[in-house]
């Protein structure tokens, strides 16, 4: 039923996105706050992306193309964010929620596409571990770079580059949320004591979009070289 229908393929991701949204919303209501503060939305975006990455079922997708399956899954997550937050009496305006949904969807797409492309060369499991490790390494750079910040000098471009490469930065710029000055980061890293600049939201969106295009292009090239294996190595994973 519904083989090849992207809308049907979106259902699991949509349910997952709504589930995570619901849990977060219950938490806000319990805390008595009138709407989700920026730090909660930021956390929500990270949790959604992490859970969405781990649980993505595109190997068993009803769709015939893995790229389409990835796109359907990521779009489902993005739509769930936008749709769910819009029906709630939240303080965040529509454009902000829409941008956050786009960021979650694009981040999901980037991570899954690169896992898929690398998985063609090896297999999906080590590719997934590799991408997850790289993501965690980049995301935690404000923490592990902290001891070197003293030597990098004031207003070092390296600090800004490391910040731009960190995936949570994408969500932060979409929410206008300075996560480096949140209590945990402020207490545990030296980053916030130095001058740093967040990249513009347009630039980060462009970079992640470009990464997706490169991954899709590589995938197409691989597919042309393996005409008998439309799913690449993906189909042979165990």
């Amino acid at each position: 039923m519904g083989r090849g229908n992207p809308l049907v393929a979106m259902i699991p991701s949509y349910l997952l996105g709504v589930g995570i949204s619901l849990l977060m919303t219950l938490d806000f209501w319990r805390s008595g706050e009138s709407g989700p503060p920026a730090h909660a939305m930021f956390l929500y975006a990270i949790v959604s992306t992490a859970v969405g990455y781990v649980l993505c079922p595109f190997r068993t997708s009803v769709l015939s193309s893995p790229l389409l399956a990835i796109f359907a899954w990521s779009s489902g997550m993005a739509i769930s964010v936008i749709a769910f937050w819009l029906v709630l009496p939240v303080t965040f305006p529509l454009p902000l929620v829409a941008w956050l949904g786009l960021a979650i969807g694009l981040m999901q797409t980037t991570l899954h596409l690169w896992t898929h492309v690398i998985g063609r060369r090896f297999s999906r499991a080590p590719a997934g571990v590799l991408i997850a490790a790289l993501t965690i390494l980049c995301a935690s750079s404000p923490v592990w770079l902290s001891p070197w910040l003293e030597w990098s000098g004031e207003h070092s471009p390296l600090m800004n580059l490391a910040l731009a490469m960190s995936p949570p930065t994408y969500f932060a710029v979409m929410l206008d949320y300075d996560y480096l000055r949140s209590p945990w980061f402020y207490k545990h890293t030296a980053y916030a004591m130095h001058r740093y600049e967040y990249p513009s939201s347009g630039l980060v969106t462009f970079v992640y979009g470009f990464l997706c295009l490169i991954a899709a292009w590589i995938d197409r090239r691989c597919e042309k070289n393996m005409p008998n294996e439309p799913f690449g190595r993906l189909q042979h994973d165990t």
């Binding site: 805390s31 008595g32 706050e33 009138s34 709407g35 503060p37 920026a38 730090h39 003293e150 000098g153 004031e154 207003h155 710029v173 206008d176 949320y177 300075d178 996560y179 480096l180 000055r181 949140s182 209590p183 402020y186 207490k187 030296a190 004591m193 130095h194 001058r195 740093y196 600049e197 967040y198």
Partner: protein, 372 residues
Amino acid sequence: MKYLPILVALMISATTVSTAAKETAKSTLRKSSAEKTATMPDEKLKEEAKRAIDRGLHYLRENQAEDGSWSKNVGITALALRAFLESPRKYTEDDGAFITKPVQYVLSHVRQDGAISGEMQNLSYNTAVAITALQATGNSGYREAIKGGQNFLKNHLIDEGEGYSKDHKYYGGIGYGGDERPDLSNAYLAVESLKATALDPKDPTWEKALVFINRCQNRSESNDQTWAANDGGFTYMPGYSPHDATASYGGMTHAGLLSLLFAGADKQDPRVQAAYDWIRNHYSVDENPGAPNKQGLYYYYNAFAKSMYAYGEAEITDGKGSKHNWREDLMRKLISLQNPDGSWVNSITKWWEGDKNLVTAWSVIALNLAVH
């Protein structure tokens, strides 16, 4: 003739009384002059400090960008602008583009919500120093931008609007702007700017701010937080100091003292007295007391000058009973630390103190108050 002895006696008495009165008057004059000499800064030192200010401002002019900004930052530009406007030469917009351009640069960053900033992560900091500088121009044409900045700061203050009740440790605080986490450093700048821009003393913002300011002071009588000690000093935010757990330190205690005074506490208020006692007991212009090495040293000098000026005592008696003229001490120290090019900079670059424009602006503002 029989009245002659009486007349002579009266004349002698009158002469004696008059001489005594003159002596008393002279003595009083000498005494008040001596007192004045003890409390007013040495004129020679004052002139030297004014030259240091000129050299600092010259450095800033040399390093001003084409668009009038400094360090491509609204906050630093506003601080440098303030340094010029409050200097002994009393620069105004009539003096030329080096004043009008930074004003326009600041105004070009006014946002729809009233904030004045070019970046998301320092919204309230930049807005506070920007409206303080705009106010210092004395130009009524900037009233709308100032009002917008005031409203942004008032709305950004954490209160019921953000879902926080009065018993929450963040209540009444103001953070950098990109996050709700408040701190005393931003709260003090916001309070200073609201005072400078003449926010109505009856505005509820003052009372709310005082709730947060109290929760940053190590004084259990007025701080309901369990961690509060009793040395009277201030820490960075409720329950946290970047230096040692919840320990008080110089930069924040001067920021706290100024905040208390500007938010409505008077000089005799026990919270003010406790903060002043901490400052007396840790009096220093050689270090930021309570902070290791030279961390936050120039921030300390800036806050020191502002709080001492607002407190209004020329002399301060330290914990050992020695009297200090804070103006002279600060002038001597800053003059000794000035670089040959007129700038000031901290070799410990934390909290942006590696930025020469920022540190020079802070130092000039401090000297402006010391020579005032």
